[in-house]
């Protein structure tokens, strides 16, 4: 559909977008009190990394597209991470009857 990606959009635009997304993810990760939101923030960060990888793959490595391969790997790992994370969350919820991150502090000294 779109022939060239080296059009009006510079590579930096993608990178800045990704950094913004990453920082929002970090902030959410630190400040979320709902455990599900923490998982969502992690997904946001992973996606920011993916945008970076895809942008590099398209602008700097157009023929070998190693970035796309890495993105596929990241997507795979993210899926596994989400599944295990949510399973942990469920068993936590079953034991503590809350999803508040502040109450998961049994290992705190």
């Amino acid at each position: 559909m779109i022939e060239t990606s080296q059009g009006l959009i510079p590579l930096q635009a993608y990178l800045i977008l990704a950094s913004l997304l990453f920082c929002i993810g970090v902030w959410g990760l630190i400040n979320s009190r709902n455990a599900v939101r923490v998982l969502m923030s992690i997904e946001l960060m992973l996606n920011a990394v993916n945008i970076n990888l895809m942008a590099f793959s398209s602008y700097l490595d157009g023929s070998l597209i190693r970035g796309q391969v890495f993105t596929v790997f990241v997507i795979t790992v993210a899926a596994a991470e989400a599944a295990v994370g949510l399973a942990i969350l469920l068993s936590l919820y079953r034991n503590r009857v809350t999803v508040d991150m502040e109450s998961f502090n049994l290992l705190k000294w």
Partner: protein, 199 residues
């Protein structure tokens, strides 16, 4: 074709705006269900970005895995644990948020500076466009074979782990003593198993 380029630019701006606003909503909204649905929107716009970058296969994979699996899983989890609970207030929460916000802003500034000052090796080789699906396959089965196999093992492990973690252990008989387990005890486990010491 000027129009194609402008269309691309407009698409990028719209998608970027949706991504940023959506992710802010994911992080800031009070209603967790709203943020989960917004997360789906963010994932889809990121897939749109991949389409702009001539990577239709990865875009489809993004939609399939992130929207179709991860997001649905998250929404499922929210529906399962969605009990309206009043979070206990914490001292200095606002200060904490402010400080972490500052740290994140610093990180953002650093990242943007790196982005803008680095001399990228532009322009790279021409994009292969539609041939990327085949190229990804070649990569996966030649130079990235080991990571590929490892990823599949990881997926298997994650699947089994998730099932083991999430299933309720409802056994009819005790495995060691072969005695019958009273099912009501398992089902009526309403109070937390671990004693909450924070309050």
């Amino acid at each position: 074709m000027h129009i194609a380029q402008y269309t691309e630019l407009i698409c990028f701006i719209i998608l970027g705006a949706v991504i940023i606003i959506g992710s802010l909503g994911v992080v800031l909204l009070n209603n967790i269900v709203y943020s989960a649905f917004l997360l789906g929107g963010v994932f889809m716009s990121i897939a749109g970005l991949y389409l702009l970058l001539n990577a239709s296969f990865v875009a489809a994979a993004q939609v399939l895995v992130y929207v179709g699996a991860v997001n649905v899983l998250i929404i499922f989890a929210i529906m399962l644990v969605n009990k309206r609970e009043e979070l206990s207030p914490i001292k200095g929460l606002k200060l904490r948020r402010f400080i972490s916000g500052g740290v994140c802003a610093c990180l953002l500034g650093l990242l943007i500076r790196v982005n803008l000052t680095t001399k990228w090796n532009m322009p790279g080789p021409a994009s292969i466009g539609e041939g990327s699906t085949v190229r990804i396959g070649e990569h996966l089965f030649t130079d990235y074979l080991l990571p590929f196999e490892l990823a599949s093992v990881l997926l298997l492990m994650a699947m089994i782990g998730a099932i083991v973690l999430a299933r309720r252990d409802v056994l009819n008989t005790d495995e060691e003593t072969q005695e019958k387990i009273n099912q009501e005890i398992i089902e009526e486990k309403k109070q937390p198993l671990l004693i909450d010491q924070s309050s």
